[in-house]
Structures are given as structure tokens and as C-alpha cells.
């Protein structure tokens, strides 16, 4: 009954209910503690009186909360970013081997040596009735550290969905630059063999940039795309076409002139067709993989790491909470004479208890709120750094899971703060008054 009602609610409403539910212990404790008392003038006064120590507490809590929520948001942002980067790669066919290596090479352009698919196999893929787009992806060259990938014009259209500037390459001397490269239309680049980090040799084959792609949020933003024919050509291999080739780039290729490609992007309009193709091309000669599936497996592994991170985040919060409670005990000694005075004047123990607990809880709540601000800043900075380091567009934002963590933390520490408040209310009145 309740389960049916709960799952019928929109996700946003569920999140809000969970958030409010996590704050219930705080609310109940607060109502019970403060019932019948007016503590706020004293709390405001104590915050003014002990500004430095209060600010230290708030900053300590805020830093802890900020780091925890920032890291969790970042991990989610990275998962979303890597998934987004793989969006355009429905099905990859490569020679048998490691699926992860093939995915890292084809989707994330990680330098690796892959065996090649031969012309006959490529022809079978290209001519298959279910295939709407087949494009060879030939890696291995680079220009000033920017990978140069040989492929076909339709792949550029598929990846970029129109160009930001210029047009797609039409000859073996033309190239299209990724959105994040420093290149503009009209620039000339001369790639080298390999990634440029080891001994390398120039091919003596300059390319003129004729187009620039839209941003894809993937490492392809930092790549240069050229005709696959030109890649084969500069490596002194057949260009994929027979002697009567009219110079039009792209397929169909002549299997006898096909030099080989480490990976083929395959796209079918129908979802089921992709599954059919994957099944058909998972053979002794070829390996067909869904990058989304491989990524999901990696994310499942990351999911375990995420759980570890969550536990660590909670552990960090608990350690901070313990530090806060220890600090509050010290603070209650600083406040002891004032609290003793209140009791000497006739204030009940519960009032002293309420003042101490409220003071602690106000610091915790202020720290948590500031921690969310810190988390937003940390998330933005980390996203920029990771995007710059990986070329995978990471757009992490704080979301409800982080809010739930903060709400749980605030409620837990507020409830734990009952103990130092209790201790403060049980101190020796006379000793404190005469101190």
C-alpha cells in the first residue's frame, strides 16, 4: 500500500520527502529542547561574544561537508561525462581482444596497439543490410600531441552533427579539427607517427584544416580527423580503392585494396538491429561491443568504489562530528560561568541544556550551509580540472543525494550534541560560579 503510493510519487517529491525525513530528528530534538524557552537573544549574544571560535567550528564543518559532497557529485559527474562521451558510439567492431582496450581506443582515443580488421571483414560489415553507417577509425598519428584519426566524412557528420565552421574534408590533404584544438580553418598541420612522445618520424604529408567540429564533450574535441585513405597513403599502404577511383572519400572500399583498420564504428537506425549486428559480428575474427555496456561494467566497478567513497564520506563526517563534539565540550567549559549564573538566577537545568544544544546546532547548521557553498565551488573547480585533464566534459552539480548526506549529517550531529549539552547542564554550579 505505502510502497505503491511511494513509487507513484514523482522522483523530485520522493527526494524532497527523504530530505525532510532526514531532518525530522533535528526538528523533533529542537522542538523538545526549545519548548517554552526564548533562547535566541542569548544565542545571538554568544555568537557575537565567541565569534572567532564559532567561525572556526563553522569552517571546520563546512570544509568537511564541502569535500564530501564535492567528491560524491564529482564521481557522478564523471560517470555521466564518460557515458555522454560514448553516446555517439553505438557499436564498435574490432579484432578479438580486450573489450575495454578497444573501447578506450575507439571512444576515448587512448593510444594503444590494436590488431587490424581486414578488407573482407570490413566489406561484410559495410554491406550488411542492417548497417546504416560504418566508418573505419584509424589511429596512430598525432600533431603536437593531438591525435590524428583517419575516418570517413559521414562519421564526421555523425559525431559533430554539423560543423561549427568550414566543411568536411574532401581530399586527402584536408582535415577537420576538434572543437578544443587550437586550430582554425586555414591552418596547416603536419602529423608525425605515434603520439609524439617517443622517437617519431614526420610523414611529410601536410593537412589543411577546412572545418571545425562542434563540441562533443569527448576526447574527440581534442583530435584532428582526416580521410582514412590519407592515413593509409602516408604509411605507404593501399588507399582502399582500385585504380579507377575517382577520388571521392569514404566507402565503399575495395577489399583487396583495404589496408586494415583497428576499429569500425557501426550504427543502425533500429535499436534491435544493433543487437542483431553485435550478435552476428561476435565471431572468431571480430569482436562487437557496445561501449555503453562496457562502460556500464566499468561503472558497476566504480559503483563499488562509489560505495567505498560514500562510506569514507560518512566516516569523515563522523570524525568531524566527534571533533565537533569534543570542541563543544571545551566550549561548554568556556560558557560554564554564564550557565552557572543562569542557574543561580533560577533558570532550570533544561534551559542551560537548551542554550548549549542550540548554540552547537546553530554552528552545525551554519557549517553545513556553508559546506554546500564550498561543495558547489569544489565541484566546479574539480569539473574544470578533470575536463582539462581527460577531455571528457564533466559537468558535475550538487544534487539530491548530496543534500540527503548533508541533512543526515546535520541531524546526526545535532542528536549527538545532546550529550555535551547534557554534560554542560550537570556541571557543578558553585564551582563554575566561583571560577
Amino acid at each position: 500500500m505505502f510502497e505503491a503510493f511511494w513509487y507513484a510519487l514523482p522522483i523530485l517529491v520522493q527526494d524532497i520527502f527523504v530530505f525532510l525525513g532526514l531532518l525530522v530528528p533535528l526538528a523533533i530534538t529542537g522542538i523538545i529542547c526549545l519548548f517554552g524557552y526564548r533562547v535566541w537573544p542569548l544565542i545571538a549574544g554568544l555568537l557575537r561574544k565567541h565569534t572567532a571560535i564559532s567561525a572556526t567550528f563553522v569552517l571546520l564543518i563546512a570544509t568537511s561537508v564541502g569535500i564530501s559532497v564535492g567528491l560524491i557529485a564529482q564521481e557522478r559527474g564523471l560517470r555521466e561525462g564518460t557515458a555522454r562521451a560514448a553516446d555517439k558510439f553505438d557499436l564498435i567492431i574490432a579484432a578479438p581482444g580486450s573489450e575495454i582496450t578497444a573501447m578506450l581506443a575507439a571512444v576515448y582515443l587512448q593510444p594503444t596497439a590494436l590488431p587490424l580488421i581486414d578488407g573482407a571483414t570490413y566489406a561484410r560489415i559495410e554491406s550488411h543490410e542492417l548497417v546504416d553507417l560504418a566508418a573505419p577509425l584509424a589511429f596512430g598519428d598525432s600533431w603536437e600531441g593531438v591525435p590524428v584519426v583517419g575516418t570517413t566524412p559521414p562519421f564526421v557528420d555523425h559525431l559533430s552533427e554539423g560543423l561549427r565552421a568550414g566543411r568536411v574534408f574532401e581530399t586527402m590533404e584536408e582535415a577537420v579539427a576538434g572543437a578544443n584544438t587550437p586550430l582554425q580553418v586555414g591552418d596547416v598541420v603536419e602529423p608525425v607517427h605515434g603520439d609524439g612522445s617517443d622517437d617519431f618520424s614526420e610523414h611529410g604529408h601536410p593537412y589543411t584544416i577546412v572545418g571545425k567540429m562542434n563540441r562533443t564533450g569527448s576526447p574527440w574535441d581534442n583530435a584532428i580527423l582526416v580521410a582514412v585513405e590519407s592515413v593509409w597513403d602516408v604509411h605507404a599502404m593501399p588507399t582502399g580503392h582500385g585504380p579507377d577511383w575517382d577520388g571521392t572519400l569514404g566507402g565503399p572500399f575495395d577489399p583487396s585494396q583495404f589496408a586494415g583498420t583497428p576499429a569500425v564504428l557501426v550504427r543502425a537506425e533500429q535499436l534491435w538491429a544493433n543487437y542483431s549486428l553485435q550478435s552476428e559480428f561476435n565471431t572468431a575474427e571480430t569482436m562487437a561491443l557496445f561501449p555503453g555496456n562496457v562502460l556500464a561494467q566499468l561503472h558497476a566497478l566504480m559503483g563499488d568504489i562509489r560505495q567505498v567513497m560514500s562510506v569514507l564520506a560518512v566516516a569523515t563526517q563522523v570524525l568531524v562530528a566527534v571533533a565537533v563534539l569534543a570542541g563543544l565540550s571545551m566550549l561548554s567549559r568556556i560558557l560554564a560561568r554564564r550557565m552557572a549564573l543562569l542557574r543561580a538566577l533560577g533558570a532550570p537545568r533544561r534551559f542551560v541544556f537548551a542554550v548549549t544544544w542550540t548554540f552547537a546546532t546553530v554552528l552545525i547548521c551554519l557549517g553545513a550551509l556553508l559546506g554546500i557553498v564550498f561543495g558547489v565551488i569544489a565541484t566546479a573547480v574539480l569539473s574544470m580540472v578533470i575536463t582539462a585533464l581527460t577531455d571528457i566534459l564533466v559537468q558535475a552539480r550538487l544534487a539530491w543525494p548530496e543534500m540527503h548526506l548533508v541533512a543526515g549529517f546535520v541531524s546526526t550531529v545535532a542528536v549527538l550534541s545532546l550529550y555535551p549539552a547534557y554534560r554542560a547542564s550537570r556541571r557543578s554550579l558553585l564551582d563554575d560560579l566561583r571560577s
Binding site: 526564548r38 537573544p41 538566577l345 533560577g346 534551559f351 554550579l429 558553585l430
Partner: protein, 223 residues
């Protein structure tokens, strides 16, 4: 208004040393008593015992029919809040609060129906005692005399039956001290309040109805 009656009161320190012996003492409702004696004689200990702030080792200490000896701490606190207005030697104000909030401190924890009355009384008494309170500045910026008068206003704001004062004029110049004595005793007589004050100040001692002298924890004179 309750009378104070003490019989064979004995108070020991935690180590068992006898701090105070008072065989017999009565203060009628509305009367005033000055407690004098050298420093460390036990005057403040007596005042704290009368206020229910210190545990009594033996004897009887009654306010009217209420015996503070053996009374639970919570009940003593309630009785103290309802019966006494206490003035401490060194003011003991909340420095970060205004004069008005200090004088009306009891409104923070008093039952809701009494809060408005305590606040009004605090403002009225501050005005009567010529303490500038409406600029809401913190009491830390007030002079010593003003701070002591704020402490007096705090003691009187709950309209208690008994005022207990520990060296109320100790930190004041003569003129300010005399004005405070006038306010304290005049106000107490007018309202029919009992006043018990520990003091070295001859002017305050002379102004009280009766004087109790304590030396080395024992009553040596009672006039």
C-alpha cells in the same frame, strides 16, 4: 512574604572542614540584615546557603514553611527563581547583551505568561535607576556603577520576595554606592521585601535593621 529561620546550620567543605556554623538566625519578612566580617570568614557561604546554592551539611534552613535542606536541586532552583533576586559582587552580567536584555534575563526562561511583565518591570526599573537602556548597546560599554545598577534591575525585575546581595557596593565610588544603598533599601521597604546583604560597607551595614557578624565561620555578634 516568607520569614527566614535557621537552626543549628552547619556547612562543611568537600574535604570535611567546617566552613560555617550558625546556631540560630531569623529574619522576618520585609526586614533587612547586613552580614559583615573579615574576608574568608564565611559570609558569602552563608548567603549562598540561604539562596539554596550550596548544600547544607546539617541543621535547618527554612523560608516560611519551605525547608531548603534536603530539597532536590530542581525544586531548589525553581524556588530560587520564584523567591529571590540575587546581586553578585562582580555584577556577573552577560556582556554581549544589552542592558534591557540583561535586566530582563529571566524572561528568557520564565513561563510565557510572565515574560511581558518581567520585560516591562526591567525597563521601568532601569529607568528608575537612571540607566540608559534604549540604545541597545552591549553592557560591556557601561560604567561600573551602571553595570551594578543593571545587576540590581535584573534582581528586581522578577519582583522577588527576597533580595540577596553579595558586596553590592564593593566596586562603586562613594556617591554611586550611597545612591545604590538608597535604591536597594528604599525599594525593599516600599515593596515589603526582605533584604540580606553581605558587605564591608559601613553605610550599607548602618542602613540595615539588623547586623550579623561572622568570623572564622562562627557568628560572633548579632544585633
Amino acid at each position: 512574604m516568607p520569614d527566614l529561620s535557621i537552626e543549628n546550620l552547619a556547612i562543611n567543605s568537600a574535604s570535611g572542614r567546617r566552613l560555617l556554623d550558625v546556631p540560630r538566625l531569623t529574619v522576618p519578612s520585609g526586614g533587612s540584615l547586613a552580614v559583615r566580617g573579615p574576608s574568608g570568614a564565611g559570609k558569602s557561604t552563608l548567603l549562598f546557603a540561604i539562596a539554596g546554592l550550596i548544600s547544607v551539611t546539617a541543621g535547618q534552613l527554612k523560608w516560611g514553611q519551605t525547608d531548603l535542606v534536603g530539597m532536590a536541586d530542581t525544586a531548589r532552583t525553581t524556588f530560587r527563581g520564584a523567591t529571590f533576586g540575587i546581586i553578585f559582587q562582580d555584577h556577573l552580567l552577560f556582556e554581549e547583551l544589552s542592558a534591557e536584555n540583561n535586566a530582563g534575563l529571566a524572561a528568557l526562561y520564565a513561563p510565557r505568561k510572565r515574560r511581558a511583565g518581567i520585560g516591562q518591570a526591567a525597563r521601568r526599573i532601569l529607568t528608575d535607576l537612571k540607566v540608559p537602556w534604549d540604545d541597545r548597546r552591549n553592557v560591556v560599554s557601561f560604567s561600573g556603577g551602571e553595570r551594578q545598577r543593571i545587576a540590581v534591575a535584573r534582581a528586581l525585575a522578577t519582583e522577588p520576595a527576597v533580595i540577596l546581595a553579595d558586596e553590592p557596593t564593593a566596586s562603586l565610588d562613594r556617591k554611586t554606592a550611597d545612591a545604590l544603598i538608597g535604591d536597594l533599601l528604599g525599594g525593599a521597604k516600599q515593596a515589603g521585601r526582605t533584604l540580606i546583604a553581605v558587605s564591608h560597607d559601613a553605610a550599607l551595614i548602618d542602613a540595615c535593621d539588623r547586623v550579623l557578624t561572622i568570623e572564622d565561620g562562627r557568628v560572633t555578634d548579632h544585633v
